[in-house]
């Protein structure tokens, strides 16, 4: 897996060098999106989609982009009087490189790194326990992005993330939209 990361990094570098001459200005933006993850069920033979809203703050320079993403999700499960409530805050920093094509929809590659902060409240009748934990994740992906009226962007991307404490890659589809200036 690390070899793959290094190879992709080299590809990014070569592509960046090839397009170095065609520069564009700095950009700043905000976006909203929906991240739909295909996560494994307890029985690893099955997966289920789970969607969570996210917002992002973006910065761009030439063909490069940097996006700080935040999402929050809550889950609750119970059986009898045994109940577990989980709250997850996710912060991710995703870098992207966009290929410069003449078409409106431009493909891009992305790589990111982030942290999920978890709070787990377990209850059974009068007994309770509250614990916090954190896990790192990193991922790679690619997608397409179009800009309308000079400022309004729409993008869709597919990512694969490796999340600590999760034995398998978590694929996800992220659809987002926002404004850049």
């Amino acid at each position: 897996m690390r070899t793959l990361v290094v190879v992709l990094a080299l590809i990014f570098g070569v592509m960046a060098h090839a397009q170095e001459e065609d520069a564009r200005a700095w950009r700043l933006g905000l976006g909203l999106g929906v991240d739909t993850r295909l996560q494994s069920q307890l029985s690893p033979n099955y997966t289920e989609p789970r969607s969570v809203g996210q917002w992002s703050a973006r910065m761009g320079y030439k063909d490069w982009g940097l996006s700080l993403e935040y999402s929050q999700e809550k889950a609750r499960s119970n059986s009898g009087s045994y109940e577990v409530a989980t709250s997850t805050q996710s912060f991710g920093l995703w870098a992207s490189y966009q290929l410069r094509l003449t078409s409106r929809w431009k493909p891009f590659f992305t790589a990111g790194y982030g942290r999920q902060l978890e709070t787990i409240d377990s209850r059974y009748q009068s007994a309770s326990a509250s614990r916090t934990g954190a896990r790192d994740f990193w991922g790679l992906g690619g997608g397409v992005r179009a800009t309308y009226f000079s400022h309004w962007f729409v993008e869709g991307q597919v990512r694969g993330a490796l999340i600590q404490d999760r034995p398998r890659i978590t694929p996800s589809l992220v659809l987002s939209s926002g404004f850049v200036f």
């Binding site: 990361v5 009898g80 577990v84």
Partner: protein, 370 residues
């Protein structure tokens, strides 16, 4: 910019999912008195990985279908997060699967201490949230040992108490059925399904199957009470059954085969009524054994259970031929199970209270005066 990007990717490459949160888990677990449950950090030593509930003690499956070779698919992959060196389950079913495995790990050690671990194959196949859609009442708030797959299934729990798979007494009860299956039922050619479904059996075999079923249930209750030290181990999970299954409850004589035959021929009596009666007889058997241990002192309960587990194998040897020829009395099995049990005036008095055929008191080396 390029250098920064490469640095970011390099850092990302150093992080991986391989971190494991160790072998201590925050689980809903009984206290030392086995009566209350709280969240405790419990060690599980034999899991191959915390991310798969599979090890030498058991394989635990979630919502899995059962086949002749056990549950289908892969064992549970629990959702966990590490917190101060402890693995914390992120949902109730992850916690339940891990708690069930931890109990099976301890039951394996318990079986070893009473010389019974070799009676059954390991790892045991266990299912949680198993769907049983036969339209019966077995689909909820119950647990079943299924001989066809040599597996134990915990079906969804919809009451307000402690889920059955977290109740270590109920786990032990179901686990005992595996022992009974391998040591008694299979040598008798009476697998659990044949006992459950009386159709196709001759009447003698069908009624004897009910007697054997009563013994299976009674010994399972006694095994669970010995393992937990709690004679009311159903409490918290199945409160409406606690009174009827309380091992400290009242004693009565066990039914003879003639009484069972008469019951079966009463108008309006169905198989479910007879099964309910066999459970009631089982409770009387469990109460008798519990009181016998009480007479000896609970310090010896593990020794006495070891004796019973060893004597189980004599049941098919001594009663196998009679099973297809004539009705077997519930109390007829007592001398086989209690072989070599040290008797005194107190224990003999208890036996006289439940045995109808008084000649049995001197059979099988029991040596009580009728």
């Amino acid at each position: 910019m390029r250098a920064w990007m490469l640095l970011l990717l390099g850092l990302a490459g150093c992080a991986g999912p391989e971190r494991e949160c160790g072998n201590h888990f925050l689980l809903l677990w009984p206290n030392a008195e086995h009566s209350q449950f709280s969240f405790q950090e419990i060690g599980i030593d034999s899991l191959n990985s915390p991310y798969s509930v599979s090890g030498p003690a058991a394989k635990v499956y979630y919502e899995a279908a059962i086949t002749a070779s056990g549950f289908e698919g892969e064992p549970v992959s629990p959702r966990l997060v590490e917190s101060d060196g402890v693995c914390v389950p992120e949902d109730v079913h992850s916690g339940t699967a891990l708690s069930l495995y931890a109990q099976m790990e301890r039951l394996r050690a318990f079986d070893g201490s009473i010389g019974a671990a070799g009676q059954i194959p390991w790892p045991r196949s266990m299912g949680i949230q198993t769907r049983i859609s036969d339209g019966s009442s077995f689909g909820h708030n119950n647990a079943h040992y299924i001989s066809r797959g040599d597996a134990t299934a915990f079906v969804p729990y919809s009451l307000a108490g402690l889920p059955l798979a977290l109740n270590h007494g109920i786990v032990a009860h179901e686990h005992f059925h595996a022992h009974f299956e391998h040591v008694v039922l299979r040598p008798l050619n009476l697998p659990s399904e044949k006992i459950t479904n009386a159709r196709g059996n001759s009447e003698v075999v069908a009624l004897n199957a009910l007697v054997i079923r009563g013994w299976n249930e009674g010994l399972a209750d006694f095994y669970a009470a010995s393992y937990t030290g709690n004679p009311r181990f159903l409490a918290g999970s199945l409160d409406e059954s606690v009174w009827s299954r309380d091992l400290t409850g009242p004693m009565m004589p066990l039914k003879s085969s003639a009484e069972l035959f008469d019951e079966a021929h009463k108008p309006g009596i169905g198989l479910q009524d007879l099964v309910a009666q066999s459970y009631a007889q089982g409770t009387l058997i469990a109460r008798l054994l519990y009181r016998l241990v009480e007479q000896d002192g609970f310090m010896l309960s593990q020794n006495r259970l070891a004796l019973i587990m060893g004597n189980l194998r004599n049941v098919p040897i001594q009663l196998g031929s009679a099973m297809s020829l004539r009705g077997v009395d519930y109390d007829e099995i007592l001398p086989v199970i209690l072989k070599d049990w040290p008797l005194n005036d107190g224990t003999c008095a208890l036996l006289r209270g439940v045995i109808s055929k008084k000649t049995l008191l001197r059979s099988g080396g029991m040596g009580c005066e009728p």
